[in-house]
């Protein structure tokens, strides 16, 4: 291992212990001066309890407004290698599937031009190249695109969509999350690369209500797979689970949120009309209980983390939407276009869709995007009487 220019006793402490060490990872690339200085500066942060990165500046590739995030050291005289230490977001393939050759191609490009440090992956889903100079930006982009890779989103644009493993390796996927993610990403390349929204807009695609990509919490548009018909039950296999120690009453029936499952000792009886597709029984007995076959997705809108007006989970907009790849996801695209038109025109700077909906009112929002209110959208109707009435409430009497 390359010797460190500067002693790093605090970080060295984090090379010990059983969990994989990020310090070891950084030191694996310490033959590069840029990484020597990144480690040196990090040791200073550990000594002083504060970040030494300055605010991002405007950097990017020609013609794009996103994908590269400027990062500069505030100790550039001491650590000249990290004077510029920009982040590159490289749009990941759907489901984070790779071949060894594809990974080597990415490594070779990053080895040639940058620090050799990565995140696999960033929070939104991209491959992250961590630490390159301003001069390297165009050459990296040229090498990436030559090998069929492109940059992801950053700033006030459509952010890089991501999806769960889907039908590639999951029996619960109620639609093709990989195809939907790829389709949406390709359809809105302009919106992904050129920020002209009030703020970021994220898509996440989960194949079932287990929501493995946390779409309901982490996206503006959460597409969660679900089904409309009956749960499929193999009674013989249910009995196998029982003989292997599953206590159906306490582990399944009692934990069902609508208590729609009964067990008489030999037959699992599900009142499917009252099933809310929570996945619990399916999760516990995957061989015996499976989602139905009339499948689609629930579309939920408006999730975000706290900044600025507080965290929000997405809420239901379309209770059930068919997600047939043959239809090219036209309904989802139409809904999205309507949302973007409204929010794009009236949203304030740095106002996410969820906050925008709260500011203008859900009913106004629905009316503007042309979606009929349905009871699935609320946990309960309002309990306060401060209703803004329209004239149309009198229409029946006037006739």
């Amino acid at each position: 291992m390359t010797e460190m220019k500067r002693k790093t006793p605090l970080l060295d402490e984090l090379e010990k212990g059983p969990w994989p060490s990020f310090v070891k990872e950084m030191k694996k690339e310490a033959h590069k001066p840029i990484v020597q200085d990144a480690i040196g500066q990090l040791e200073r942060s550990y000594e002083e309890h504060i970040s030494h990165w300055k605010h991002g500046g405007l950097v990017g590739v020609m013609g794009y407004g996103g994908g590269v995030i400027g990062r500069y050291s505030d100790l550039a005289d001491e650590f000249p290698g990290v004077r510029e230490f920009h982040t590159f977001r490289v749009n990941q393939p759907s489901g984070w599937f790779y071949t060894s050759d594809a990974l080597r191609t990415l490594c070779d490009i990053w080895d040639k031009h940058g620090s050799g440090l990565t995140n696999m992956h960033g929070s939104t889903g991209d491959v992250i190249f961590l630490g390159g100079s301003t001069e390297s930006i165009e050459p990296i982009f040229a090498d990436l695109t030559k090998e069929n890779w492109d940059l992801g989103g950053s700033g006030s644009n459509m952010r890089t969509p991501s999806c769960c493993v889907g039908p590639a390796r999951c029996e619960w996927a109620c639609y093709d999350t990989l195809d939907a993610c790829y389709n949406i990403t390709q359809h809105w390349q302009d919106e992904l690369h050129r920020p002209f929204f009030p703020y970021k807009y994220k898509f996440k695609f989960s194949g079932c209500p287990n929501d493995c990509v946390a779409s309901i919490a982490r996206s503006d548009c959460s597409v969660i797979g679900t089904w409309r018909d009956d749960i499929r039950v193999d009674q013989a296999k249910v009995k196998e689970y029982v003989s292997n120690g599953v206590d159906i009453v306490s582990e399944i029936c009692d934990l069902c949120p609508t208590r729609c499952i009964e067990w008489d000792g030999s037959t699992l009886d599900i009142d499917n009309a009252n099933c809310v597709k929570c996945m619990h029984c399916i999760n516990v007995m995957p061989k015996a209980v499976k989602p139905g076959t009339d499948r689609g997705a629930t579309i939920l809108i408006g999730g975000k983390a706290p900044i600025i007006g507080g965290a929000l989970l997405c809420s239901v907009f379309v209770p059930f939407l068919e997600m047939d790849p043959e239809d090219d996801y036209e309904d989802l695209k139409e809904l999205t276009d309507a949302i973007w038109d409204l929010w794009g025109e009236h949203g304030k700077a740095r106002e996410r869709t969820g906050e925008f909906i709260q500011r203008i009112g859900m009913s106004n929002f629905l009316e503007e995007i042309g979606l009929e209110p349905v009871p699935e959208m609320v946990m309960a109707p309002r309990s306060n009487p401060y209703i803004f009435f329209d004239d149309e409430i009198f229409e029946n009497e006037e006739e």
Partner: protein, 358 residues
């Protein structure tokens, strides 16, 4: 002549990265089974089998390590691998006999097998001092220190249900940790310091004033220069002003620290998704190992593991036993900081006499 510039091609199509067994069984998987911690099998309707070996990673990976993973994938599974939404690496095997040698190689290289089923999976986390300008604490370091202690919960499946630990180094929550069983969150605790000399040169004052969600920022003339003032009592340390103006310094080496939140989830299983709620409002930044944070997280995990029922996530357990009991069992002091005073605060007040008095 220069090559034509290529833009807007999007990511490569995923299909070229799928192993043949996945192409053959795409959308036709019948069931799956966890064979042991970190190893599962998916069985297709035709009986085809796909074995997955999952290993934890620190998310920050050197290309040296990625090349190692590529070599291992070539050696054991035709070069096919993927990463998970929680930054684990997964090798996709068809030869069952390759599982043990692959695991041996991964463990020898320092990448533990696990994170599956009723376990702690890989904590998602943010950049921290490694690469972020607004971080109130480091991210990788805290996660490393916590997971060194909690490692057996990753490599075994001995918890009542899955336990999702996440870390974000400021309230921006790039990791959107706010729906985790245990969320560790870096916090600023003091209003920003204004650099009046730089501010007029670097920032638009109206934008800066508008950025404050509580209206705490006002235009002001300081020493004859256009600048701003901050009503400190109104500041909730969100740092949104710092994001739009670098001359308003939110980072503070003495007062920045770490908070702990519990009981959130994103899956719809049993109960609806929910936010994590405040458990510990503030612990100091104490690098390199943040012992106060590690102790607090470990205590919460151990109390949960000892008391929750099978299938109960952290939040479900707490709601069953009640928050007073949670604070009693974990010996975490309940303070004024635990009572919400932001928008819609009253929604969390107890408005019933249904209380446990035991």
């Amino acid at each position: 002549m220069a090559d034509e510039r290529i833009t807007d091609i999007g990511p490569p199509h995923y299909e070229q990265f799928l192993p043949p067994v996945i192409k053959d069984n795409y959308g036709k998987w019948d069931y799956h089974e966890i064979l042991r911690p970190g190893v599962m099998v998916h069985v297709g309707e035709t009986g085809d089998k796909l074995f997955t070996v999952r290993a934890g990673s620190p998310r920050l990976l050197a290309i040296t390590t990625i090349r190692l993973f590529a070599d291992l994938a070539d050696k054991y599974c035709g070069g096919y691998l993927r990463f998970t939404s929680r930054n684990n690496v997964e090798f996709l095997l068809t030869e069952e006999s390759n599982i043990d040698p692959l695991i041996k190689d991964l463990e020898a290289a320092g990448y533990p097998i696990g994170g599956m089923g009723n376990a702690i999976s890989n904590p998602v986390h943010t950049q921290g001092w490694v690469h972020c300008h607004s971080s109130a604490s480091d991210a990788s370091g805290v996660v490393k220190a916590v997971m060194d202690e909690l490692m057996p919960y990753f490599t075994e499946m001995k918890l009542p249900a899955k336990l999702r630990v996440a870390y974000a180094c400021c309230l921006n929550m790039c990791g959107a940790v706010h729906c985790s069983d245990i969320a560790i969150l870096g916090v600023h605790t003091r209003a920003p310091v204004i650099e009046h000399d730089d501010l007029p040169k670097m920032c638009e004052i109206p934008t800066l004033v508008a950025s404050c969600p509580t209206g705490a920022i006002r235009p002001a003339t300081v020493d004859g220069k256009h600048s701003i003032e901050i009503v400190e009592e109104q500041c909730m340390y969100c740092g949104n002003c710092y994001t739009v103006c670098p001359a308003v310094k939110i980072n503070n080496a003495k007062t920045d620290g770490v908070s702990i939140w519990v009981g959130g989830k994103v899956s719809n299983a049993r109960v609806a998704p929910k936010f994590s709620k405040l458990a510990v409002p503030y612990l100091p930044n104490n690098p390199p190992r943040w012992p106060e944070v590690v102790d607090a997280v470990k205590k919460i995990v151990e109390v949960y593991a000892a008391n929750a029922r099978k299938h109960e996530r952290m939040g479900e357990w707490i709601e069953r036993i009640g928050w007073p009991k949670f604070f009693a069992l974990t010996e975490i002091p309940f303070t004024k900081y635990h009572i919400d005073d932001f928008k819609h605060a009253g929604e969390t007040f107890t408005r019933t006499a249904q209380l446990r008095h035991a």
